[in-house]
């Protein structure tokens, strides 16, 4: 079910009314669980069984880690993580592994190649891993604080944590230590209406007006269309895709954050104006924060982080980024994409060692432009999962200089990308201290966004991150 569909709007309204109905106050979690299962299974009800299986693993593993025999604590945690990841590998990576190890022929190959990818599996699997690891390490809170002694109560809370519909299919990846302590009875009067409104309006605007309109031009990046476009078109399309992927995913995350607020839950920001970053390190602190912080907390630091020498740090960065890349999709191009970013992070770390940060405006602007250009170039690997097509695209950029540029395509891409640029510029302005005029006129900005959602939304498209 899409956040921008009318069916969802209906489900949301019914859920909201039931949730705050005083007579059902005791059953708030049950209402949200039921609604989430409808949301998830709406198009493919069988998926609910997979979700329940995944949740069951986490219920059992986290319960045994907390209340089981001390001797089997570690075993329970390891088993929980391994089973979580096995489900992910089976459903997401079987076709890739079959192709890589040439297992495509025969009935086994046929079976492996046709395993369907359940929507949201990458997200809820990572949430499950965070639960098991958090209760095992007790790094953030005592495990008995988040795992109640009652097995039934625990099961309900875990099902709610993994299944809560705003974050179920495309994140943000909510960590157990952030979410579980928030579970309690919520009251209508406690809703943060203004922040929910701002998140929802900005999110829907970025998705429906920016991303959904840009997608009708950036599809031309796909093979074989791009080959026949002029260099200028190809460069502008890459720029447009960079803005589209941001608007699409940041939009989705803001909608999720706004929806969760309506039910009294706070998710952390998932995007923090990433295109103003002056370094790759900064970019990954601002882009898909819930994933990068997950990789940092549950992979990079356990691998040794930067505590085991320079070379090991660079290796760790590469490994984490390549695995992070593969998390996005079952194609080696995603690993290459991650590898590119890993390499950039490692090189940056190497070159910046002991060097003071430049304070010149021009140098800062140049750095921002360089990071943005690199990130934009790397998005090609997202759009064109076949590596040969990426090379062909770059060749077309170099070779199609003489072809005529398409003015319509260029103007519409620039027009629909401009809100993303403005969004970042406004943030920079606010960071320097918002002018009283901007503060006073904030409502007009939201009114304008609402107006454009009503009259200028593009044809609805799937969220890009659904495929991950």
């Amino acid at each position: 079910m899409l956040f921008n569909s009318f069916v969802f709007l209906g489900l949301l309204t019914v859920t909201f009314l039931l949730y705050y109905l005083p007579v059902l106050q005791k059953y708030q979690i049950q209402v949200l669980i039921l609604s989430s299962l409808v949301f998830y299974g709406y198009e493919k009800p069988a998926l609910v069984l997979l979700l329940l299986a995944s949740v069951s693993i986490n219920i059992l593993a986290s319960y045994f880690v907390t209340y089981g025999d001390e001797r089997y604590r570690k075993l329970s945690a390891v088993l929980g993580v391994v089973l979580n990841l096995s489900i992910l590998v089976f459903f997401k990576y079987s076709p890739l592994l079959a192709r890589t190890f040439d297992l495509t022929s025969g009935s086994l190959g046929d079976f492996l190649l046709h395993i369907p990818l359940p929507i949201g599996i990458s997200f809820f699997t990572f949430q499950g891993v965070s639960l098991v690891v958090d209760v095992y390490t007790e790094k953030y809170c005592k495990n008995t604080d988040v795992v109640p002694a009652s097995f039934v109560e625990h099961s309900k809370r875990v099902l709610f944590f993994k299944g809560f519909f705003p974050q179920l299919i495309s994140g943000p990846i909510v960590k157990a230590h952030d979410f579980l302590p928030q579970i309690r009875t919520k009251r209508f009067g406690e809703i943060g209406w203004e922040s929910a409104f701002k998140s929802l309006v900005t999110g829907y605007f970025l998705k429906m007006v920016v991303a959904d309109n840009l997608k009708d031009y950036t599809f031309l990046i796909e093979y074989p269309f791009f080959q026949f476009h002029a260099t200028l078109n190809l460069l502008i399309m890459m720029f447009g895709y960079s803005c589209q992927i941001f608007a699409d995913f940041a939009g989705y995350s803001l909608i999720a954050i706004g929806l969760a607020k309506l039910f009294g839950y706070d998710f952390k920001d998932n995007f923090d104006f990433p295109y103003i970053s002056r370094s790759f390190r900064e970019f990954w602190k601002r882009w898909h924060i819930s994933l990068s912080s997950f990789l940092m907390e549950y992979l990079y630091i356990p691998l040794g982080g930067n505590r085991k020498g320079r070379i090991r740090t660079y290796v760790n960065l590469m490994v984490v980024m390549m695995l992070g890349g593969l998390w996005h999709g079952a194609a080696w191009s995603y690993a290459v994409w991650g590898g590119f970013h890993g390499l950039a992070l490692a090189l940056e770390r190497m070159l910046d060692r002991g060097r003071p940060e430049s304070k010149g405006v021009a140098v800062k602007a140049l750095k921002t432009l360089m990071v943005f250009s690199f990130v934009t170039l790397a998005w090609l690997l997202f759009k064109l999962p076949e590596f040969g097509h990426v090379i062909a695209y770059l060749k077309s950029i170099a070779g199609n200089v003489r072809l005529e540029a398409n003015n319509t395509l260029i103007s519409f891409i620039l027009l629909y990308s401009s809100p993303v640029i403005l969004y970042h510029l406004l943030y920079l302005r606010k960071r320097r201290g918002a002018s009283p005029l901007i503060q006073r006129m904030e409502y007009a900005l939201y009114g304008m966004m609402l107006f454009l959602i009503i009259v200028n939304s593009g044809t609805p498209g799937d969220f890009i991150y659904f495929q991950f």
């Binding site: 009318f6 209406w193 203004e194 409104f197 309006v201 007006v209 309109n213 009708d216 031009y217 080959q227 026949f228 002029a230 260099t231 200028l232 199609n400 200089v401 003489r402 072809l403 005529e404 540029a405 003015n407 319509t408 260029i410 103007s411 519409f412 620039l414 027009l415 629909y416 904030e442 409502y443 007009a444 939201y446 009114g447 304008m448 609402l450 107006f451 454009l452 009503i454 009259v455 200028n456 044809t459």
Partner: protein, 293 residues
């Protein structure tokens, strides 16, 4: 803040609606791409104040290329990327009376898109009938973008183009494009289509045409010329003969292909602007019997 933002949005909507209703020039319309063109054509047909249409053309993106300036008496309800079945469905569900429909025969196997038609007639679409500001051709950013592309960017891109192109070597057309695509298409056009699937598609079409005929609509078929190399390959040849079996010439009129088939296409199947205009004149002559000037 929320209340003020909602009031602002409402005021903007009311002002924009009033502007469209009373002040906007006729040229205040725009389309971003083919998909939007489809919606605009469908909306203009469905919400037209006319109860009946004399001549309506139904087809795919091939028919979208027809020069409608030369056919002011006709309405082109051809949808790019869609089947003629979608056009028929729009006519049937709109309740408009159509005296003559002209059905393109090039791609009968294209399936109908039920979602597209359902969305046009859903209750959520209904306010567009009265509130023009909600219609696809009135989207403000589409209109601004269309105007932008016509003025500002042509200057900017031409300059950048000049800077990047090697002097004296400028070539505005992607020369290999048409040839490469025609080569690819000739492979698919050379394959004999699945006869049972073709029969199923034509059976569907006949059922819909029967419904049109019950409402008094007369049906005429026409085939648009594609690249000469493709016209008589296995797939179009079989399609042509099957059409004549399902819709015999004794009962239906089939506008023949023009004698001269040297039509220039941009990608093997879609005529370029000049030749689309040339074919339109031929088509008009066939329909109305007017001599070509």
């Amino acid at each position: 803040m929320i209340r003020k933002a909602l009031i602002t949005a409402a005021l903007l909507l009311v002002s924009y609606s009033a502007y469209i209703a009373f002040l906007a020039p006729a040229s205040w319309a725009g389309s971003q791409h083919e998909w939007q063109d489809n919606l605009i054509k469908a909306e203009n047909f469905i919400y037209s104040e006319r109860d009946s249409f004399e001549h309506v053309i139904l087809g795919s993106s091939l028919s979208c290329r027809l020069s409608m300036r030369d056919l002011p008496e006709m309405y082109n309800l051809s949808f790019a990327g869609h089947s003629v079945l979608d056009g028929i469905e729009v006519i049937l569900r709109s309740g408009k009376k159509v005296r003559n429909v002209y059905i393109e025969t090039n791609y009968p196997e294209k399936p109908e898109d039920a979602k597209f038609v359902q969305s046009l007639f859903s209750a959520l679409y209904y306010p567009r009938k009265y509130l023009h500001a909600l219609r696809d051709d009135k989207r403000p950013l589409s209109i601004i973008g269309t105007k932008l592309s016509k003025s500002l960017t042509s200057r900017v891109t031409d300059r950048i183009q000049l800077m990047t192109a090697r002097s004296g070597d400028s070539d505005p057309k992607p020369m290999g494009f048409t040839r490469q695509l025609t080569d690819i298409r000739s492979q698919t056009y050379s394959q004999t289509p699945d006869d049972s699937l073709l029969a199923q598609s034509l059976r569907n079409l006949r059922e819909r045409i029967n419904l049109l005929e019950e409402r008094g609509t007369k049906v005429v078929f026409f085939e648009l010329p594609v690249n000469q190399r493709l016209i008589y390959l296995a797939s179009p040849s079989l399609t042509r003969s099957r059409y004549l079996e399902w819709f015999p010439a004794t009962r239906y009129r089939h506008i023949p292909l023009p004698d001269s088939l040297d039509y220039v296409t941009t990608d093997g199947i879609h005529m370029n602007r000049e030749d689309a205009s040339r074919y339109t004149k031929y088509f008009k002559e066939q329909v109305f019997g007017q001599p070509q000037r």
